[in-house]
């Protein structure tokens, strides 16, 4: 192997990399938060809305799930301006991620809603629980227990997916990596380090989410 590694010139750019990492995290967290509003609204519409609304929501879900995220970004960043809707690259990235995660989130939230059992609410009432107690212990906690694993893995998928936003020059980690690469020509070193950074984030979230689940969402053992 005759290749000479040069990690130093990439490490020199660590403030930029850190900046990109933070931007990726902020972008992912914001997209997840707004995406969940979309998901809850969509799930409510799907479970208790009129038929035409259910069709529209189903159409949205199928359309998003069966087309590549890359095309969705292109559509929002390059396609929509011809209809008079123009966004900055970071805004377009956020919108694309929200639209994408919203579609996956609807089915997750819907499963949570459907996991609530009417009989248990009635049992709570007959035990003399107050409405707030019923909401907290019988509706909210089991629903969160039901959706927590899919929701957290959806967040990690979203975070990894956000790297695709580099194609429209949103200022997240992968785009920063591209900048450093075009300046230093150290392609392998840059992408190796950035891949490790993403892996670090994934491992951090896997561990943190599992710890939260163990601490707060433990199911009673029978």
């Amino acid at each position: 192997m005759s290749y000479e590694f040069d990690f130093a010139s990439v490490f020199e750019a660590w403030p930029e990399l850190l900046h990109g990492l933070i931007n990726s995290l902020v972008l992912s967290a914001a997209a997840m938060a707004i995406g969940m509003i979309v998901a809850v609204a969509g799930a409510l519409g799907k479970t208790s809305g009129p038929k035409w609304l259910v069709w529209i929501i189903d159409g949205y879900i199928e359309l998003i799930r069966n087309t590549p995220f890359l095309i969705q970004i292109f559509m929002i960043y390059f396609g929509l301006p011809s209809l008079g809707l123009k966004f900055s690259s970071n805004t377009a990235a956020l919108i694309a991620l929200v639209v994408n995660v919203g579609a996956y989130g609807i089915e997750i939230i819907r499963a949570g809603i459907e996991s609530i059992q009417k009989g248990q609410v009635e049992a709570g009432k007959s035990l003399g629980m107050r409405p707030l107690q019923i909401f907290r212990y019988i509706i909210l906690k089991p629903a969160i227990q039901a959706i927590y694993p899919s929701l957290t893995s959806q967040f990690i998928l979203l975070m990894l997916n956000s790297s695709v936003c580099s194609v429209i020059a949103a200022t997240e980690l992968t785009a920063i990596a591209g900048d450093i690469q075009s300046r230093t020509f150290r392609s392998f070193e840059v992408y190796f380090i950035v891949t490790c950074m993403y892996l670090g984030l994934s491992i951090f979230f896997w561990t943190a989410f599992a710890a939260i689940e163990r601490t707060f969402l433990r199911k009673p053992t029978r």
Binding site: R65, N66, L70, I71, G79, V164, T195, Y198
Partner: protein, 216 residues
Amino acid sequence: MRELGPNEIIFILAAVRWTLLLSLVAFLGGALGGALVALARTSEFKWLRLAANGYIKLFQGTPLLMQLFLAFFVPGLFGWSVDPWTAAALGLSLHASAFLGEIWRGAIEVVPRGQWEAATSLGLRYTPKMALIIVPQAIRIAIPPTIGFLVQLIKGTSLASIIGFVELTRAAQVINNATFRPFTIFALVALVYFLICWPLSAYSKRMERKLLVAAR
């Protein structure tokens, strides 16, 4: 500036064959690798299980785009320069190996313990036990999520455009740069992806429901 005429549309549509071919190669490569990963993940040797788990986590914990970049640049370290097609096929195959490996591990582990014990007590060694007893039962369970992943993989091939492989998405970009009709072009391409992926998704969902009924 060029007009968006029939020739341009045909250029885009003809590039579907590269999307399909790349998906097929990555799926076959991934099936081969995935089978090995799944067997390693359910093996009786601890180090094999750990190694397979590390492999899966590595690919599930990093963006597919990074995997493709590295597939493009890593062979260069050894003095092999690869073209975008090879890099994309290699990167997507390794990616698919991890995901299919994890899906198939799940399917293997769902086969009831008693089946394993019965096979062992009949004196079957590892290979006939897996080939005759465990895998045939696991396949039924594995079909819906495998097809679900195939949809992910087909969508994932669009990222090969970023490392310069001219498939459907890249062809659309090329035509868009010449004609500047992004809305029409990307809507057309979205429709093509949808027509490929949606039947697969629907089939996978139907199969899953059937299995649920059968399991009741």
